[in-house]
């Protein structure tokens, strides 16, 4: 369950005329701004180390300009790094020959794009079958195999439409179906839902989560939207100015933000809905009060406590054994913003 599928090691990317020469300044610890001002090179990524677990959704989050889209393009080498390694299943993607890389892209990692990247001159079914036709699979078989995915993303009946005839949400369903049709184990999603309006976006997130429950792909998901990251991410890496500043599961990021930047970032989220009882429970073998699962959001936990008229409850594991207890006071304290609890405003 927790084996590593993709490992990014010591990855650097410098944009400019002579990145190799600029690297010695980077190693010497020059700031991004100084590198740009004095040497005319842009530091895209600095010393990235991320281990992406197999069959999980790894979210890489950051604001625009943080290098997140650059980072995801290193995984299938649409962008060449200046230094570093990307290991997928033990193979270094960056050491692959052109043929090996092509094979890797055809069979191992498929991609969904922010602005969909559909082929405007091909119909929906031709688009979904694109990855298969690139592999050299005959048209009949490609259509047969892609039809399943067209149905799965809810586009049945639109097979003969062209992308321009579809709404944004439907176009991205085509993009998703196209990426799924190659049966690649790795799905790279570059701000895949960012161009969609909020309702459609929630819709697509549901589709993705449903699919993931059944398919168990390794998904790398790029987003600038914290709510989206918390909603779908099993693991989150936060990127800022080309550096990873915190990694972990959503609970640990909210409970223990690594620095002021992140605590500022998370200050407006609905903590009661995101935090789960497992993050704040006290370990215990026995407890009284209403029983709740470890993944119950605090909101629901409080509701249960109030309904039961108790001020503490029992946290039970999937097998029904009590593993901890939660009190109303703790739950309320966890829902308050940390900067209000601490000695004063941490961020001005």
């Amino acid at each position: 369950m927790t084996d590593i599928k993709i490992e990014i090691r010591d990855l650097y990317k410098v944009f400019g005329n002579n990145p190799e020469a600029a690297m010695k300044h980077v190693h010497a610890g020059i700031s991004k701004q100084d590198l740009l001002d004095h040497h005319g090179h842009v530091l895209g990524l600095r010393d990235i180390n991320v281990k992406i677990k197999s069959k999980r959704i790894q979210v890489i989050m950051g604001l625009s300009g943080s290098g997140k889209s650059t980072l995801i393009r290193h995984i299938n080498r649409l962008i060449e790094p200046t230094e570093g390694e990307v290991i997928v299943d033990g193979d270094n993607v960056l050491a692959m020959s052109t043929e090996e890389l092509r094979d890797f892209r055809r069979h191992k990692a498929s991609m969904v794009f922010q602005r969909f990247g559909l082929l405007p001159h091909r119909t929906v079914s031709q688009n979904v079958a694109y990855g298969l036709s690139i592999q050299g699979i005959s048209e009949g078989e490609a259509f047969e195999r892609s039809q399943r995915w067209i149905d799965r993303v809810g586009l049945a009946g639109f097979e003969q439409h062209f992308p321009a005839q579809l709404s944004g949400g439907m176009q991205q369903r085509v993009g998703l179906a196209r990426a799924l049709a190659t049966d690649a184990e790795i799905l790279l999603m570059d701000e895949a839902f960012s161009a969609l309006d909020p309702l459609i976006r929630t819709d697509m997130q549901n589709i993705l989560l449903d699919l993931q429950e059944e398919l168990h792909k390794t998904i790398v998901f790029i987003t600038h939207d914290l709510d989206e990251a918390l909603r779908i991410g099993d693991e989150i890496s936060i990127l800022r100015d080309g550096e990873v500043i915190q990694q972990g599961d959503p609970q640990s990021i909210i409970m223990k933000p690594a620095d002021d930047y992140i605590s500022d970032f998370i200050k407006d989220i609905n903590r009661g809905r995101v935090l789960e009882v497992r993050s704040i429970m006290e370990k215990a073998n026995r407890a009284t009060g209403p029983k709740m699962g470890i993944k119950t959001p605090l909101e629901d936990a409080l509701q249960q406590l109030v309904n039961a008229g108790k001020d503490s409850g029992a946290v039970v594991a999937d097998d029904g054994k009590t593993i901890g207890k939660i009190s109303m006071g703790n739950a309320i304290a966890a829902m308050a913003r940390p900067d209000r609890v601490n000695e004063g405003p941490r961020y001005k």
């Binding site: 991609m111 794009f113 321009a164 005839q165």
Partner: protein, 296 residues
């Protein structure tokens, strides 16, 4: 002060020697290689002769039907088909049928040659910035240099006839298709190309599956322009022995035959308009998929 009033030019003797050297050099080049080059173009010449004979010797109703059929295939518009047929009937009725067929023959062959050379060249240009920076000025020269200037070496090399006429037409008419092929490929959406790369498309799949189809409307605009410019060269080509509607125009110019000149000139215009409308309609149909319609 003489330096400022008189431009410091090459001495008269030097200039004469320079011109002589160039002339002599080219003359000996054409003596040495003229025949070889002529032989090289011989298959093309045979094809042109065959095609012209085919058009002239076929019964006129068959040609008319073929024109109507092509117009329908290209435009899917009855109005255009009807218009083309009426134009050709008038042309034939006024005694210009044979010349029109000869002109159609050279235009068709010239367009085919331009497409055959121009599209690969445009693809090559789109692939490499260096190639683009070399070919662009060459295209500029081809389009702006007065036709008569390159007629001289062509005639020196190949004499008078169909092939030099064809070369003259092609030099003038090829640049648009090269330019627009290059432009069309370069304008293809980066993200679509990135998607093709991300799915592991190789160079061929990228070119034929994405770049060419998406550049097709532009490439087709290039074909349209090439046809138009080839028609514009009909009269000049007739000066070096190409048959067709240009010959009577040339006669009319030298003898002040107003009616003759007008008739043949208008026939060229009519052909140009038919080609243009039909190929534009076809170009529009090529990009029908871009229209967002019918989604609910």
């Amino acid at each position: 002060m003489e330096f400022f009033s008189e431009f410091p030019e090459l001495g008269r003797g030097d200039l004469r020697d320079f011109k002589k050297a160039v002339d002599f050099g080219f003359r000996s080049f054409s003596r040495a290689y003229g025949e070889g080059i002529e032989n090289f173009f011989d298959p093309l010449l045979q094809f042109m002769i065959w095609f012209e004979r085919l058009l002239i010797n076929s019964p006129w109703p068959i040609i008319l039907a073929a024109i109507a059929g092509l117009a329908w295939l290209g435009s899917r518009s009855w109005k255009l088909v009807l218009g083309s047929v009426i134009c050709f009937i008038i042309i034939g009725y006024f005694g210009m049928w044979e010349n029109t067929m000869a002109t159609l023959a050279i235009i068709s062959v010239a367009t085919l040659v331009c497409i055959g050379v121009g599209i690969p060249l445009g693809i090559w240009m789109a692939k490499s910035n260096r190639v683009q920076s070399i070919i662009t000025p060459v295209l500029d020269v081809m389009q702006t240099i007065p036709s008569f200037v390159y007629l001289i070496p062509v005639v020196m090399l190949l004499g008078i006839g169909k092939v030099p006429g064809l070369i003259a037409v092609c030099i003038y008419a090829a640049p648009p298709i090269v330019r627009l092929t290059n432009l069309g490929i370069r304008l293809v959406d980066e993200e679509v190309l990135e998607a093709a790369d991300a799915f592991g498309a190789n160079y061929k799949q990228r070119l034929w599956g994405v770049q060419i189809p998406l550049a097709l409307p532009n490439i087709f605009a290039g074909v349209n322009q090439t046809i138009m410019m080839a028609l514009a060269m009909v009269v000049i080509a007739s000066m070096i022995g190409v048959r067709g509607l240009g010959v009577p125009v040339l006669q009319a110019v030298s003898n002040q035959y107003l009616a003759l000149g007008l008739m043949n000139g208008l026939a060229i215009v009519a052909i140009a308009i038919i080609f243009d409308r039909v190929s534009q309609k076809y170009g529009q149909r090529l990009q029908a998929y871009r229209k967002g319609s019918g989604h609910d």
